[in-house]
Amino acid sequence: MIFWELFIGFLKVGAFTFGGGYAAIPIIRELVLSNGWLSEETLAHMIAVSESTPGPIMVNMATYVGSSQAGLSGALIATTAVVLPSFFIILLVMVVLKTVIKNRYVQAVLRGLKPCVIGIILATGGFMVFRNCFRTGQLNAADTIITVLLALILFGAKGILKKKISPIAFILLSACIGIIAYGF
């Protein structure tokens, strides 16, 4: 039953994502690929749309996946599911466990989770970049050149010019490059 799968899937996303929207991407990727809901291709579209529209990235992704699988009710269910763990955990923390966050065992676990999440995000992003370049089974010249070019722009601006490019500006730029490279 698709509604149940969406609900449980996004409940898990909401309950196990530490550190904001990007940390949700590996878990959502597993969820949609293993269920065959989205392809790598449509997954990337979905992430791009979620990053360039306002609102929490995780909520955007849940709504998108839900809607693509089961229309309005799917969107409602996935969005509710992704929010529920947050909502009740915060209430719990505020009502009964005010000191739990500062508890040293909780802090010890959190101290391990953060670096692990960073490693997972890095591997997921790196794998997506890599897969793109090899999407036909062998190195795709056009994609690889664009990847290198965009990487130079993104990391060059950050390292040399000390200027951060906003994700939206970067996505728009990549769209222009895509149009020039792949035709219109």
């Binding site: 909401g14 360039s52 959190l110 989770l113 670096p115 890095l122 950050k158 906003s166």
Partner: protein, 189 residues
Amino acid sequence: MKRKTLTELFLTFLKVGMFTFGGGYAMISVITNACVEQKKWLTHDEMMDMTVIAESTPGPIAINCATYVGYRQAGFSGAVAATAGMVVPSFVIIYLISMVLENFMEITIIASAFQGIKIAVGLLIVNAAVTMLRKMKKTPLACVLSVCSCAAMLLINIFSWKISSVSLMLIAGVISLVACTPQKEGGAA
């Protein structure tokens, strides 16, 4: 009186949800502006406390903040009003886009644009991880955990192993619990 507070909570977070791009961390400054400077719902110190809680608990950071502020101002119904306000703009905008996007893909120019965008998405994720890595406190344990989890996740992806990233997180949590706790006890003694 209560209804006024609820409406105000809903509208304030509706605005935050509608006009903030870039996810949780970008939102914290907007929420500070709305809740501390304009509405005086929280002091700066309370805002700091809330940020720590929002970051240490799972889920979207902005939702954690909305629930927190809403509950503080008006109890359970306040939490519902603020959280709903935060979610509604996302929901409406994304729902509309998702209905039309895949049809638009048949237009060549949009398909080409998204071929470029697809490449950017991977790079943005790498970039987010690099930024987080730079800010991370580089204790030996943190370095080992981040390198190992990155390597493990790459292997999982490459060989399509059926291991969830959640299990990696659980393992890291347990390792850190075992490694950090005695050290702290020793320091306190």
